[in-house]
């Protein structure tokens, strides 16, 4: 890390103030704007969506956000030049919509399965048939939990 700092300070090709500002800027943008937004959306989903839908929608939004972020500079076309059609030759706005459509199509299929699973397990539990979908009892929850496993559920030490 010292090598990096020394190099940046002594390299003639550097524009240190712009470099540092950008380093600081991406950190702030990610940690104080983008991630909190993502966490907020996650909280809203957990609150307002039925349980079977949460996973699929979370994954769909996650992929959509990342793909949009990556595609954004290309959609803007900032690097395009009139005399060079081989540079960024595609319609990237169109391309982004195609990718999002494919992703949400996949999510829709997943949600359809999830709904069916949740509906059929509800039907089974209502009619007293033991659920096949619920996984085996966890050792550290419920009346059969031993003292030692219950103790293990303390918050993780990082």
């Amino acid at each position: 890390m010292a090598f990096a700092i020394h190099g940046a300070l002594t390299d003639d090709g550097e524009h240190l103030s712009g470099h540092l500002a950008f380093l600081f800027g991406v950190l702030v943008a990610d940690d104080l704007i983008l991630l909190p937004m993502a966490i907020g959306v996650g909280w809203l989903l957990t609150r307002y969506l039925p349980a079977w839908a949460r996973g699929g929608v979370q994954v769909g939004l996650f992929i959509s956000a990342i793909v949009t972020a990556v595609a954004f500079p290309f959609v803007l076309g900032a690097g395009r030049l009139a005399d060079n059609p081989s540079k960024f030759p595609r319609d990237y706005g169109h391309g982004l919509l195609i990718v999002l459509a494919v992703v949400w199509l996949g999510i829709a299929v997943w949600l359809a399965f999830a709904y069916h699973r949740s509906w059929s397990s509800q039907t089974r539990s209502r009619s007293g048939i033991p659920s096949r979908t619920r996984p085996a009892a966890y050792p550290d929850s419920g009346p059969n939990a031993s003292r030692s496993t219950r103790r293990r559920r303390k918050p993780w030490r990082w």
């Binding site: 890390m1 090598f3 990096a4 700092i5 190099g7 940046a8 390299d11 090709g13 550097e14 524009h15 240190l16 712009g18 470099h19 500002a21 950008f22 380093l23 991406v26 950190l27 990610d30 940690d31 991630l35 909190p36 966490i39 039925p50 349980a51 079977w52 839908a53 949460r54 996973g55 994954v59 996650f62 992929i63 956000a65 793909v67 990556v70 595609a71 500079p73 290309f74 900032a78 690097g79 030049l81 005399d83 060079n84 059609p85 081989s86 540079k87 030759p89 595609r90 990237y92 391309g95 982004l96 195609i98 990718v99 996984p135 085996a136 966890y138 550290d140 929850s141 993780w156 990082w158």
Partner: protein, 396 residues
């Protein structure tokens, strides 16, 4: 004594400051755990290391220190290393987002700094995160050609920040190693029954999915069979004049007038004197036809058939010795760092290194370097100098 200084506890801030994200149970997701963080961290570490090694190679080839040597075979090695560099960078965006999400509560740890050692560690993690994000964002901006968004010199900044990132990563792994080992070796005590929503495996699956989607959408610029699938790829490797993309046109380079000059002569200098060769003179010399790729730093590459005079033949004609002497080529372009490039001894002696006059059966298009250009194996596109004005053989 140093240990004492590093671990002397700082005063704890008053509890009433512990608000908002600093509160004890501010972040509720039960998907977070050292295990998920360690798994994401492992993948991220591999990705960052891959980008670092391939990126460093690319830098060293273009700014070779005296001890550096780069082979001329396999001829497509650079297209692979740089293709991997850019594809890995794209893929890492989703991965780093998931990792940062999983450790987000640690940003709001309480107390914020326990002691000096803790403060230094937190600072180094901040530097690591900033550096990795910087590399990803600037890398993508460079591929997108969006230089006005970067108020600094891309090449220098991207290079030095890479060292910051790799240093921060090594320090981070060293500090967290006990936790990582423990988290990865312990069998999970069963998935906590999260009421709907993602489980740990679901999160890892989601990360795999996002990496897959982004990669498929962009890698067609490097992996030609995927060129129609990759709707977000910055280039189509078969699209451009004579079936090859162009990065720098003759107009942009300011050579469109001088390149068309009918009185053009290539100046070939060596120990035995100087030759002044017109295009007809060059075409009259024994020609070779080779298949070589153009591979750019932005990750795209495309193969073409090039016809021209082998560099080593020109070296011999002016009294040089292939294998001993290196060659410096200069472009008609002015004011660019890439207007001059050096072909080292082994590459200059290589039978596939040409001063090319034709590509894919046609006379070189002016955007591809007419009247003639350098094409050599395993060489970054920016160093395959176009619009050659002179070729100088340097002894030793």
């Amino acid at each position: 004594m140093l240990r004492g200084l590093l671990h002397r506890p700082f005063p704890t801030p008053p509890d009433w400051l512990r608000r908002g994200p600093l509160r004890r149970r501010a972040f509720s997701s039960r998907v977070r755990s050292p295990r998920v963080t360690s798994q994401l961290g492992l993948l991220l570490g591999v990705a960052v290391a891959t980008c670092f090694v391939t990126g460093l190679l690319s830098h060293l080839i273009q700014h070779p220190p005296s001890w550096f040597w780069w082979p001329s075979r396999p001829v497509g090695l650079y297209r692979v290393t740089q293709g991997v560099h850019v594809a890995t960078g794209f893929a890492t965006v989703g991965l780093v987002t998931a990792k940062l999400w999983s450790v987000y509560p640690k940003l709001w740890a309480w107390p914020p700094v326990r002691d000096l050692a803790h403060a230094l560690e937190r600072l180094s993690v901040l530097a690591l995160v900033a550096a990795v994000l910087f590399q990803l964002v600037t890398g993508i901006l460079n591929v997108a050609g969006w230089y006005s968004a970067m108020p600094f010199a891309f090449i220098a900044s991207h290079y030095w920040t890479a060292w910051l990132a790799i240093g921060g990563l090594l320090l981070h792994i060293a500090v967290k190693l006990p936790i990582i080992r423990g988290a990865l070796s312990r069998r999970p005590a069963g998935e906590p029954p999260v009421g709907g929503g993602l489980t740990r495996r679901g999160l890892l699956g989601a990360v795999g999915a996002v990496v897959g989607v982004v990669t498929l959408a962009t890698v067609g610029q490097t992996i030609s069979p995927l060129r129609t699938v990759s709707v977000l790829a910055p280039r189509r490797p078969d699209l451009g004049p004579q079936g090859l993309p162009v990065n720098n046109t003759a107009l942009e380079a300011g050579v469109h007038v001088v390149a068309a000059d009918p009185g053009y002569r290539l100046s070939v200098r060596g120990p035995a004197g100087t030759l002044s060769l017109s295009l007809d003179d060059l075409a009259a010399l024994p020609q070779a036809t080779v298949e070589l790729p153009i591979a750019c730093v932005e990750g795209w590459s495309a193969t073409a058939r090039w016809t021209g005079v082998p560099v080593r033949d020109l070296v011999t004609r002016v009294g040089g010795q292939p294998g001993r002497d290196h060659v410096v080529v200069q472009s008609m372009q002015r004011g660019s760092a890439y207007a001059i490039s050096t072909v080292d001894r082994s590459h200059a002696a290589h039978p596939l290194s040409l001063i090319a006059l034709r590509v894919n059966g046609e006379t070189l298009h002016v955007d591809h370097g007419y009247p003639c250009r350098l094409i050599a194996p395993n060489r970054p596109g920016a160093m395959q100098t176009k619009w050659l004005q002179s070729v100088t053989v340097v002894t030793g």
